[in-house]
Amino acid sequence: MIRKTAIAALGAALAIAAGLSFYRSRHLAEPVVPGAGVSRVATLGDYFAPIKGTVNDAHVYVLEGKEPGGTVLLLGGTHPEEPAGRLASWIFAENAELSSGRLFVILTANRSASRVTRLGGAYPPDFTIPTSWGGQKFRMGDRWSDPLDQWPDPEVYLHYPTRQELAYVDIRNLNRAFPGRPNGTLTEKTCYAITELIRREEVDIAIDFHEAELQYPVISTIVAHEKGADLAAAASMFISSLEGFSIGVENSPKALRGLSHREIGDATGAMSLLLEAPEPFLDATRGRTDRKLLLTGQDEFVVRAGKRGLLFEKIDEKGWPIDVRVGRHTSTVLQLLEIWSGDHPDKAVVVSGVPRYTEVVEKGTGAFLKDPKSADPAKVAYE
């Protein structure tokens, strides 16, 4: 009996330790100090009531210029396991100021997916971006909504409204569920709320931040709906000659449904673009899946795969650090907005205060995160 009690106690200790780790990861509050340019913080539930109060009632940071102009939506955290997208949108929410137009920024489009890590993936539960005031901790997140929030998965996922057959697990993938369904799953409702935001606010450009494994052919690129192909091509040329890095352009395939770059462009008046940066952490041939790999993008096994011609992006011992990936996103958005504003003066969206690629790489992402302890507590939001 003593032996059984001892083993049961050991098991209970293991369960409590694991449970605490999962609970803390799921409930880690990430502070956001909205910058001077943020005029209000709405939520997705303001655009689609059934999502109100749910885990996916994400904050929408609204920045408005004094002059009228166009409207742009930035989507971070569609796939929270691609942290450069969330961090880039964080920088916009905390630093951007507008002189004309409006900017809507969502930092965690799929909050449910940000509160879980990939099952069996041995992901770290969180990571910390170093700052001058000590560092800010973020949830690691996953590609799919948490099964605790949306379950069960079907045998085959039929995309709404096209009924295209997709992988069963993608019923919890925000970037396979656009334009969304008002009476659908949590993920579909979240997409519907975002689509409603785009329709009601008459968004001109929707930009979805992503990262991709180097073994995936769609990488270091702007995926553009046909409505945004010219803008993306111009941005690609300017970025490649002015910003210090290269980025390509891909046409959004018409036959692959549910993705933001296809469905938002088809279902709304907005042109939809999706940005991909390289993230070796996601490569199947990676080594240890830890915080260091997430932040440095350095992995000898992925380098080895590159030497064998198995990758669609270059990699060396320097890896793909998080600052490089975040800087690519901020510079790409700034170039897109500058070109758009030059071509459409009546719909201009003029942004200042956001660092470009070279500045993010030089100073680090943490230099552009605000210290919540020195901010007015009433103004601090939590993701």
Binding site: I7, L14, A15, A18, G19, R26
Partner: protein
């Protein structure tokens, strides 16, 4: 429909957890006892909606 499936899923999870506890109590060797306890942990975490 999803709600009904989910309720049944949690009932099945609880049922398997009870079986594991019962088998743990019946075992005579410490290796088997440890095995049942380790297998039980993910069932408990799911029932408590922690993972």
């Amino acid at each position: 429909m999803n709600t009904i499936v989910t309720v049944f899923y949690y009932l099945m999870t609880a049922f398997v957890a009870v079986l594991l506890v019962r088998n743990f109590l019946k075992r005579k060797s410490w290796q088997e006892e440890a095995l049942y306890i380790i297998v039980l942990i993910p069932f408990l975490l799911r029932l408590l909606r922690l993972k």
